[in-house]
Amino acid sequence: MNLDQLVHECGEWLKAGGPMSDVVISSRVRLARNLAGHRFLSKASPEERAEIERTLFDAIRSLEFGKNTFYVDVEQSDPIDRQFLVERHLISRQHAEGEGCRGVAISTGETMALMINEEDHLRIQVLRRGLNLDDAWNQTTEVDAALEGVVEFAWHRQYGYLTACPTNVGTGLRVSVMLHLPALKLTNEIEKVLRAAKDMRLAIRGLYGEGTEALGDFFQVSNQVTLGAGEEEILNGFKSEVIPAMVHYEREARRQLRTQSPAALDDKVWRALGVLENARVISSEEALFLLSHLRMGILMERVKTIDLEAVSELLLGTQSAHLQKRLGRRLEGQERSVLRAEYIRKRLDQARPSNN
């Protein structure tokens, strides 16, 4: 398995479907861990960095789950490949733009990615489609425990798992759920959700996590506090309170659009489809914005001629690195936008049931 083979696939967790998938795109669980007896990365020499990478790489390879992973040396990777991994949420932007030896072990099906030498020595990340934190967590804790059988993680009686930044200390657990909230945006009620999130001590960020803007109608919600609450408590808060509340707000907003302004709703959705089907030059931002409206239209059964799978594929495939990898060459500005428009037209054409 290598990166080039991933281009023609859609990560398992990015496919359409899963619990509450009308609003919840994906669920992610992340644990931050550091090897005991080593410095954190800000004070590690290049030799120590390399040793950390080797130790963790060997540990992963020695375990059962590791046999179904492939390793990408991020330091040696081409910038497009790094960007490609960011677009697929397999590595963070920070990891892509970092320095020194580092990598990522990716499981087949892309449901798990273990980043080595990001901000901490190890970041275990597990992804699932829709709202499925249980499953994501169970795999995470199994992998964490398996690794603890072969390496020792830095641990402190008072603080728990030690991390380079005190904002991750304790459980090292960050739970993130990606939400698609187009109706709340259209009805100008998005602040309701943001306020609710704030009250619940959560962070809301853009599509690509830390330091990224909220792009289009996609929002990532995650916990801020990693210390003083058990893993179960953090996860349960999310799946039984936070996310259901937000899903409820979004569904209500969609219902309101359907009953109070169906013409305006249809106009948005069909204009989006019209542009996507006819544009000859399109930026990734515009594509994302329109695909968001189309996704909503399909889920609300306003558009029945396009399947959701096509939209999921396009959401990923229209992004710059994906487009360039698909075509197998570097593309600059205008040419990229032209080829993006072409790709969208073709894919939507295939998506029509009459062509199946």
Binding site: F40, N138, Y159, P166, I190, A214, Q224, E231
Partner: protein, 161 residues
């Protein structure tokens, strides 16, 4: 970059919107963004925590002198970059760090989660129970008693199993 709205504070909220097909970028400060109902609370910035912390400390001189014998990290360096140098720093920086942690973690001071070697499994039945209870509340709220009765039965069944 300065906020486009007030032209005074630094812009920390960056938005890309599409207005009639035209990409429009907006850069606002947190305050102006909030008054527009756009508010993106970032993760507690460690730098903010550190800044506010140091200003309230009387023993700044003491802090400046602290340095880890193992990795060489000084408290001042940590303050500037927000990242610690090695596990030992958590002890070397003692109470000063404890206060930083407490601020960053909304008052929490001790880990209460899993310990090395443990696994914490979530019980899928518990998850199902929570879902049913939530649906039940919603059904009662909209006075759909038929659905509520059905949900109550399913909850009872789940408890029996």
């Amino acid at each position: 970059m300065v906020c486009q709205q007030c032209k005074k504070h630094p812009a920390t909220v960056h938005l890309t919107d599409l207005v009639k097909g035209e990409k429009r970028e907006r850069h606002l400060c947190e305050h102006c963004a909030a008054t527009e109902g756009i508010s993106f609370k970032q993760h507690v910035s460690i730098n903010e925590v550190l800044n506010s912390f140091l200003m309230t400390q009387a023993g700044v001189q003491e802090l400046i002198k602290m340095r880890c014998p193992d990795c060489g990290m000084s408290f001042v360096e940590f303050r500037n970059q927000g990242l610690l140098g090695c596990p030992k720093d958590y002890d070397v920086f003692g109470e000063a760090l404890a206060a930083v942690v407490q601020r960053a973690q909304e008052g929490a001071t001790h880990h209460t989660g899993k310990r090395p070697g443990q696994t914490v499994k979530l019980d899928p039945r518990q998850q199902r129970r929570l879902e049913l209870q939530r649906e039940l509340r919603a059904a009662v709220e909209r006075e759909d008693y038929e659905r509520a009765a059905d949900l109550r039965d399913r909850l009872a069944e789940l408890d029996k199993a």
